[in-house]
Symmetry: C2
Subunit: 107 residues, 2 copies
DNA sequence: GAGCGTGGTTACCGATTGGATACCTTGGTG
DNA sequence: CACCAAGGTATCCAATCGGTAACCACGCTC
């Protein structure tokens, strides 16, 4: 999903406190995910950064962590879901203006 | 304008490559501005950071720098103006969810 | 009891970011 | 000439970010 040189790192937007937070949010769009499930789409993230990113999102109230007997899940809170709208607009911007951005950056 | 402890530094969004770029864009919303004019609303920015931020915005094609005889102005390009919509949505998000964000961060 | 999967933590290190401060060049102005 | 404003640069430093790699506790299975 985000494995190759992710275009999103070139975007002039950031959601959340660190580099990965936006991608984590997108991975949680469709429901709760386990720690190990998140590591699949975010193949290039280190466990340290994933933890750090999740802790930041939890601290800000965007993600809720729930520990069951033998598993832990992360899911978006209402507040976290409210970030998806701006996030999607940023993605829409990217689609519309990607070429212009690349052109500008090359010169 | 952004002089006190600017709430925007606490926001979970960033526009542009560095911390200040979003604020610079907002200062250019209403037309061209000179370097020294930008330093007024952005009272806490150092000249180095203002230059760096403007150079980044210029490189990405969001801002155009024009040097006249005895003055330099910066103004938004069309591409730069296209960032204002997402930016405004982020500000709207902030107004709607500011309290929740603070609450979450306190605990 | 050896090894495995889950969900992490810790230590270390280099690169990047951001801030403060001082300085510089060019062209006016008194 | 001295000084000033504009539009920056240069230098130094501290803090933060992000990455690698190793380790760890728990419960399960073979």
């Amino acid at each position: 999903m985000f494995e190759e040189i992710c275009p999103s790192t070139l975007l002039p937007f950031r959601v959340g406190t660190d580099k990965w937070a936006g991608m984590v949010l997108r991975c949680l769009e469709d429901g709760p995910r386990r720690y190990s499930e998140l590591r699949v789409p975010l193949a290039r993230i280190s466990p340290k950064m994933l933890t750090q990113s999740l802790r930041g999102l939890e601290r800000d109230g965007f993600v809720q962590r729930t520990a069951y007997e033998r598993r832990v899940t992360y899911e978006l809170t209402d507040l976290g879901r409210s970030l998806l709208e701006p996030l999607r607009l940023m993605c829409a911007w990217a689609e519309d203006h990607w070429d212009e951005l690349l052109d500008a950056r090359e010169s």
